[in-house]
Amino acid sequence: MNTTISKIAGLMMLTAALLIGCGESSDDENSNANSQGEKQELTDFEMTHGIGPVDEEITIDEIDPELAKEGMRVFDMKCGACHKLDSRYVGPPLGGIMNARTPAYVMNMILNPEEMLAKHPVAKSIGSEYPTRMTNQQLTREKARAVVEYLAQESR
């Protein structure tokens, strides 16, 4: 008799357990992903040329004035609301940027600001000095290349 009742009680417990069943999922996956992101190391190429769609070195020997002119037009429209050449504004001044960074680095910063600000130590460090985070202005690679030509012209 006692066993019968305990079996019945058992079934009721099981029912209760089934009802409560769907517990919370663990946060392990998220925390793993975060710590992996922190640990991930950049390649030498990425350290010099940034992280993003531009995965080969870009060299600028002689300035193409037509391309630089197009770059200025794009810069005014898509970058100029936050960057000036000669002074700090929402973002850092860019008048001499091509003396400090490679063309590929600047293109990756334009084309992939979210990841650059999250992962690249130089971008992270500069970014921390400015309260507003750089936004993605959806330039095409060609437009970003033109902007770099313009900035190279202004850096000389």
Binding site: M1, T4, I5, I8, L11, M12, L14, T15, L18, L19, D76, M77, K78, G80, A81, C82, Y89, V90, P131, T132, R133, T135, N136, Q137, Q138
Partner: protein, 658 residues
């Protein structure tokens, strides 16, 4: 024995408890077996997308509500016929012309029947049309940006209810007069006559609006009709493509106490219109051009994003008394409301709201009856076909007050019964009732995604209920209308979910999300911004005075306005803020609110320009700010305008960051 007895009493008790817990959950109305099963069917996990978009007319709110199905989540509201302070629709300078009519600017509308564009009888995800009943209009909403792109007014119409239904390749969208009005014999112009001259003077019109490949609407022709009330419509498809069907009531031609006086005849009519033939007549120049002033308002981003209003002065009218073969009346009991064509295009079901049966006409029989001239008579020059010749059959015991029918892809029809608060499932071929389910309460329309097209998705049905009462936490005397999601994939219908809607949805449409979601604009390319007052860079920002008109060419980006300090404005000026959002990122609009503006805010999408008019009445310094929390420094996104007395000599000046 005692032991056995105890066993036999306790075990079933435990088993019932267990089964009961697992299957019943906490169902309140008990009309379905398993609420956990239902919950699973409507559950869309965080970050996941719904399988269908649902587009629900907002009725007297004039807008179009967008819902995810099966979750019932309200995702968006598209402003259409009513001003929307939330984003400046109908308040800002760009969109005001969209609400222009021959009665002037109309800030409100009564939205009824959304209908998705179709290609080969299937929803194609390009546009959704919606009619306005009070000031007869039809809107076209682009599903690339979820915005109203065009609104055309319907002339020679009073109350546009049987609208806006499309033909299978969106050749046309339809409109018809709900209320007949007096029209003179020659030019169909409204007349100053006694209302009791109804039978002598009142007439109706049915309009066919041509839709171009780009979506532009133009009235191809109107058909002069007897002075009945035209209620709903659906186009033929498959074998019946080329025809459209319109219910009418008040064949009694009553003009007062219609609830009694328009309910006397045993049968009213479905008007069967051979639109293909009518279109041929129109193309041949038949009928005549009559005065028919109406506005076509449209807004096109590529053309600058400022709505334009175009006044069209004439329309072509076809008279079925003179042009043979374009209109036939199908006798139909009794004050029919909905008219719905099944996916095969063979059957035409009518919701005779006072009838005890659902009459279903056969298109094939209708064509034979026309050929053999099986007429019962004629009504004001229009042949009336014999009921018995065209009838496929009648659905018996379909519930009380049948209104609307939609179809699945398995040969079943589903009809709402308003008075008995249920949905009745019946077989289109055999006309037998297969299943019925209670809904809460009093359904009007119903919607199955694709359920009025040739390719229904026969998975879900939404009942659009007119009465809410106790379904949600009470909210005073007014409650939002309740929609109910029903699983129709099995033999028995299963109620899954209640969800509230906005305004009063009349009809709704549903479409597989994959047909729409890939085509979404995420921002407007600033380079392609052709707005004449755009400032496409901070270098272009400026303030210009022209008499007492001041134009501010302003830009926004996270997190500042340029310029953000403006002086030289005077009391009595008309100030236009042309705000260009330089952002190029998805879902980063900036708002613009000006203290003392008598209209609304602007909500400017990335890459777009919008204009707010402000007429300062007091001197002082007044702030403006961004209303959309755009960044961590959103609270810093502000500026000041100094307003000087009317006769002061403060010069225009402006700056940013100085």
């Amino acid at each position: 024995m005692r032991k056995l007895l105890k066993k036999s009493l306790l075990w079933p008790l435990a088993a019932i408890a267990a089964i009961g817990f697992i299957t019943m959950g906490c169902s309140s109305n008990g009309e379905f077996g398993s609420s956990s099963d239902a919950a699973e069917k409507v559950y869309v996990a965080p970050g996941e997308h719904d399988e269908f978009y649902g587009f629900f007319s907002g009725g007297y709110n004039g807008q179009l509500g967008v819902y995810g199905l099966p979750s019932g989540r309200h995702i968006f509201t598209i402003p259409v016929f009513s001003q929307a302070a939330v984003n400046g629709w109908g308040y800002n300078e760009e969109t005001k012309p969209m609400l222009q009519t021959t009665d002037g600017f109309i800030p409100w509308g009564d939205a009824h029947h959304p209908e998705l564009s179709q290609t080969n009888g299937e929803t194609d995800g390009r546009w959704i049309f919606m009619n306005e009943n009070n000031t007869p209009r039809i809107a076209r909403i682009g599903l690339d940006e979820f915005r109203t792109q065009e609104i055309i007014e319907i002339p020679n119409s009073a109350g546009n209810h049987a609208s806006s239904f499309v033909t299978p390749n969106t050749e046309y969208v339809t409109a018809a007069t709900r209320f007949s009005i007096p029209m003179d014999e020659d030019n169909m112009q409204n007349m100053d006559v006694s209302i009791d001259s109804y039978k002598e003077n009142f007439q109706g019109t049915i309009s066919f609006i041509k839709v171009s490949d780009e979506g532009h609407m133009s009235i191809d022709f109107q058909i002069r009709m007897p002075g009945f009330n035209y209620d709903l419509s659906h186009s033929g498809k498959g074998p019946s493509d080329g025809w459209a069907f319109f219910t009418s009531y008040n064949s009694e031609e009553a003009h007062t106490m219609l609830e009694i006086n328009a309910s006397k005849n045993d049968k009213d009519y479905i008007a069967a219109i051979n639109w293909e033939k009518a279109a041929e007549y129109a193309k041949e120049g038949k009928g005549k051009m009559i005065p028919g002033e109406h506005y076509r308002n449209y807004i096109d981003h590529e053309e600058g994003g400022i709505a334009k209003s175009e006044l069209i002065e004439e329309v072509r009218v076809l008279d079925p008394r003179e042009l043979e073969g374009i209109v036939y009346f199908l006798p139909t009991p009794k004050s029919p409301h909905g008219v719905d064509v099944d996916p095969t295009g063979q059957y035409i079901a009518a919701g005779g709201k006072l009838s005890t049966v659902i009459p279903v006409h056969s298109f094939e029989k209708m064509m034979t009856a026309i050929e053999n001239e099986e007429f019962e008579g004629e009504e004001q020059g229009i042949p009336v076909l014999s009921y018995d010749s065209i009838l496929h059959g009648e659905v018996q015991n379909p519930g009380l007050g049948p209104l609307h029918t939609e179809f699945d892809n398995r040969g079943n029809a589903y009809t709402t019964a308003f008075i008995s608060s249920e949905i009745v499932k019946w077989d289109v071929e055999t006309l037998e009732v297969i299943d019925r389910i209670d809904v809460y309460y009093s359904p009007g329309h119903l919607m199955i995604p694709g359920g009025d097209s040739q390719k229904p998705d026969g998975k879900y049905l939404v009942a659009l209920n007119k009465i809410t009462k106790d379904r949600y936490l009470p909210t005073g005397p007014e409650m939002f209308h309740s929609a109910q999601l029903i699983d129709i994939s099995g033999e028995k219908m299963q109620l899954l979910l209640d969800f509230p809607t906005e305004g009063e949805p009349h009809y709704a449409q549903g479409i597989a999300a994959e047909k729409v979601k890939e085509n979404q604009k995420r921002f407007y390319e600033i380079e392609d911004n052709n707005h004449p007052h755009a400032a496409k860079s901070e270098k272009e920002t400026r303030v210009e005075r022209d008499g007492n008109e001041v134009h501010v060419y302003m830009t926004t980006i996270r997190s500042h306005f340029a310029p953000d300090n403006i002086e030289g404005i005077k009391v009595g000026d008309e100030v236009y803020f042309h705000v260009t959002n330089l952002e190029q990122d998805w879902d980063v609009p900036h708002g613009f609110a000006m203290k003392g503006a008598n209209n609304a805010e602007l909500l400017v999408m990335p890459g777009e320009t919008a204009t707010l008019k402000w007429e300062p009445k007091k001197e002082g310094v007044f702030p403006f700010y961004c209303t959309d929390f755009c960044s961590a420094l959103h609270q810093e996104m502000q500026g000041y305008v100094r307003v000087s007395p009317e006769n002061s000599d403060t010069q225009i000046s402006y700056s940013t960051g100085q």
